[in-house]
């Protein structure tokens, strides 16, 4: 039981796809300017990652080694297209804003990386847990970045006004450069707190 929980926890902090592994960052910077964009991206990403890992791990015994990457791409592309169609049908306005990044989930290196590094070598249940952990790890980071950027860049969180009207929004926060700034600060903060914890143990 404990090692199962560890698989989930691994994605949330120790191997966090964004803050520690630092892969798939372009869409992170692009979709985190508003919370609603980050939320839809989190759903789409989790949907594709969890289902792709489950499918890849369940058919891994029939996948010939030579063509494993094309097969991963077919599986991932299928789920990405499903996620894109569903978002287009049920969240049209958010989909219009970030549709490029939802479609680009196909080539997101986190997903193909987890398919190759984890799902191809582990059982279905463990892959499911890894998918859940990685999705949670991805989601908490991008939603946190989005909350910070929207709060300072637009004075709102998820379109609800938080800052008083007198607050003059810092536009740079919703423009791409601030994506790098906030991401960098978060990476530094996590490294710092992990290091401190390690030293405290000594």
């Amino acid at each position: 039981m404990k090692d199962k929980l560890k698989i989930i926890w691994n994605g949330i902090v120790p191997s966090n796809p964004v803050l520690i592994l630092a892969i798939g960052l372009c869409s992170v910077v692009a979709v985190t300017n508003f919370v609603k964009n980050a939320l839809l991206m989190s759903f789409a990403f989790s949907f594709v990652l969890i289902l792709s890992e489950v499918i890849v791990s369940s058919i891994r015994k029939w996948i010939p080694d030579e063509i494993r990457v094309p097969i991963f791409v077919v599986v991932i592309a299928t789920f990405t297209t499903i996620a894109a169609l569903l978002s287009h049908a049920y969240f049209p306005s958010v989909y219009d804003a970030i549709k490029l990044y939802i479609l680009l989930v196909v080539v997101n290196c986190i997903i193909i990386g987890r398919a190759e590094a984890f799902a191809y070598k582990n059982g279905v249940f463990d892959s499911l847990l890894d998918g859940i952990g990685m999705s949670l790890g991805y989601s908490w980071v991008i939603i946190t970045i989005a909350i910070i950027r929207e709060l300072f860049g637009n004075g709102t969180i998820a379109n609800i006004r938080v800052m008083p009207h007198i607050y003059q929004p810092a536009l740079i926060m919703v423009l791409p450069p601030a994506g790098f700034l906030v991401l960098g600060v978060l990476v530094g903060w996590l490294e710092w707190s992990l290091k401190r914890k390690k030293e405290a143990k000594k």
Binding site: I59, A77, A89
Partner: protein, 198 residues
């Protein structure tokens, strides 16, 4: 040789299954997406021509007087007894970063009835204020940037900082929208004058 056949068969089977699943999901979502698009279009048309009007697509091509501005679909607006009230044009104008697509409603008497931006990629907080319903270019009268075009004659110059109030920090967006509205206004007005009595 044998190996290659095996690889091809495996990849083929997996792709076929994936294709089948996608076809199913597409069948299921296509009508929802289509219905949403229709509803969004109807809402957009009603926004530039509010009231009890009938909208129908006109199968004509109008030449744009401004080479940078292009027209898409064209709709005519009729009242309940079938009189031509005005026209709505789907207009694409070059924005600051990407083309801006908007609906422009033109009255038969040559004034603008309403403007709605459908798609734009303007800078958030600056050019994007063009479609922000809470951003007023005239704070006292609570007139939005698009709202100021209502009732404006198509023969006016439509130049920001002269007869159009520009959005602060977004002169390019303001000018782009203004020239798009003007081009649509002139083309539609000329067409309606020629169409005359109908």
């Amino acid at each position: 040789m044998n190996k290659i056949v095996k690889l091809a068969v495996v990849l083929g089977v997996i792709s076929a299954i994936a294709g089948g699943i996608l076809a199913g999901v597409y069948q299921f979502t296509a009508p929802v997406i289509e219905a949403r698009n229709q509803a969004a279009l109807k809402a957009g048309l009603l926004e530039v021509f509010p009231g009890n009007y009938k909208f129908s697509e006109l199968k004509i091509k109008l030449k744009s007087p401004d080479p940078a501005v292009t027209f898409g679909k064209i709709y005519k607006v009729e009242d309940s007894s079938g009189n031509l009230v005005g026209m709505i044009l789907d207009v694409t104008t070059p924005g600051d970063q990407a083309p801006i697509e908007m609906l422009v409603g033109v009255n038969r008497n040559g004034t603008i009835n309403g403007v709605k931006i459908l798609k734009s990629l303007e800078t958030p907080g600056l050019g994007a204020n063009a479609s922000n319903p809470h951003y007023y270019v005239d704070k006292k009268k609570k007139i939005t940037f698009l709202g100021q075009f209502k009732g404006k004659k198509v023969t006016d110059p439509f130049i920001p900082k002269k007869d159009v109030i520009a959005i602060t920090g977004a002169t390019i967006t303001s000018a782009a929208v203004s020239r798009g509205v003007k081009a649509a206004g002139i083309a539609a007005y000329e067409y309606m004058q020629k169409a005359g009595g109908s």
